[in-house]
Structures are given as C-alpha cells and as structure tokens.
C-alpha cells in the first residue's frame, strides 16, 4: 500500500519568504509527526498530531513555524519569513496511534534550502 508521501521533495527559497510543506500520512493512521534534520544532526521533533486532540507543538523552534492537520489526513508545515538556519530536511511520519507501541512510518522528506 501507499506509504507516507511528502511534497515538494526539494524546495529552494530566498531568505524572508514563506514556505509550505505538505505531508500525506498512511490512510487510517491517526497520529502524525513532523521532524527536522539539519546537516550532521539527528532528527529533531517539531510537532505531533493525535486524532482530534490539541497538537503537541512543544518542539516548534519559533513562532515562525506552524502546522495544521485536516482531520486525520493531510498536514501542512508552514515556515514564515524563512532564515538560513531553517535549511534542513523536514520529515513527516505517521502511526496508527500516538501511544506506546506503534511504529512511526517515515516519508521521504522535503529538503529545504534557504538562500
């Protein structure tokens, strides 16, 4: 079946512009996560959606970052007024539930380059 998909796969933008990154989770997965991987670093948690509960936004690095999710489907991560330090691969993952034992399935990522 289809896995997690993300678009675009690559995005180059100029400093100060806004960008939107999209994630389509696996159908039926109620939990959705966004992570960021900067060069030479591990994955860094950004935000977590679980069903209709309020999202856990505690990993968002600044108020320039926001994310939305429509029901239990598509999510968009928006970065406003991009800065060069926002350059990274942004990964989305989904799982059956945000509880203890479920495996997170990762998408291919969006490579964001801010010039």
């Amino acid at each position: 079946g289809a896995g997690v998909s993300q678009s675009p796969s690559n995005k180059v933008t100029e400093k100060g512009k806004d960008v939107e990154l999209r994630c389509d989770p696996i159908s039926g997965h109620t939990a959705l996560y966004w992570y960021r991987q900067r060069l030479g670093q591990g994955l860094e948690f950004l935000i977590y959606f679980q069903g209709n509960s309020a999202p856990d936004k505690s990993g968002l690095p600044s108020d320039r970052f926001s994310a939305e999710r429509t029901g239990e489907s598509v999510s968009t991560l928006t970065i406003q007024r991009t800065q060069q330090e926002d350059s990274a691969v942004y990964l989305c993952a989904s799982s059956l539930a945000g509880e203890l034992y479920n495996e997170q399935f990762f998408g291919p990522g969006t490579r964001l380059t801010v010039l």
Binding site: G3, V4, A31, Y33, Y35, G40, Q41, G42, L43, E44, F45, Y48, Q50, D56, G59, L91, S95, G98, E99, L100, Y101, E103, Q104, F106, G107, P108, G109
Partner: protein, 116 residues
Amino acid sequence: AQSVSQHNHHVILSEAASLELGCNYSYGGTVNLFWYVQYPGQHLQLLLKYFSGDPLVKGIKGFEAEFIKSKFSFNLRKPSVQWSDTAEYFCAVNAARGSTLGRLYFGRGTQLTVWP
C-alpha cells in the same frame, strides 16, 4: 528532557566483520527503544524495537540489540556485515508514559560503510 548519544559518527568495516554501534540515552523513566536505518536514497525504516520483556531483541537482516537498563544503553550488533548494510543508523527513544508520549528522540546517527 531526554537525549540520545551515538558514540560513532562514521564506522568503516570490511565485509564479514562484526558490528557494534553504541547508543546511550538519558531519561529517568521507562522508555521504548528503537533503531532506524536509512539506506542510500531511501526512507527511514525501522530495524528493531524494544518495549519490554527479553532485553535482547532481534530485527530484520540479522541485526540485534541489547537493552542494558543499568547502563542506559541499547547497542546494535550484527555478527557479520554485508556490503548492503551500508547505511545510516539512528538510535531513538520515546517515553513509555507521560506528556511526551509518541515523540521520538533521535541520536545524531552513525554512517556505516562496508567495503566488499
């Protein structure tokens, strides 16, 4: 806050050599532990996981990992590596309970290069 340390950033081995990649985590509570692998050009995928029970867990492709609670470690092992094991390996943990349920904390990754 939780943190994960992977001791080796780049490991180079010849085929048939044995592999051990170190992973230590920092967290006082009960954790779930994972190793993820990213082959060149592919997505991150789960290699193995530990939730409870036997601290020696076996994963895909002959990998295994041992959870040593007293050492806060979850080292990955494989007795004989193959060229196809060339990839980046990430150790990750999440809290088994509490407000950070679901959120994975990752190490920086270890790039494994296996020469044929």
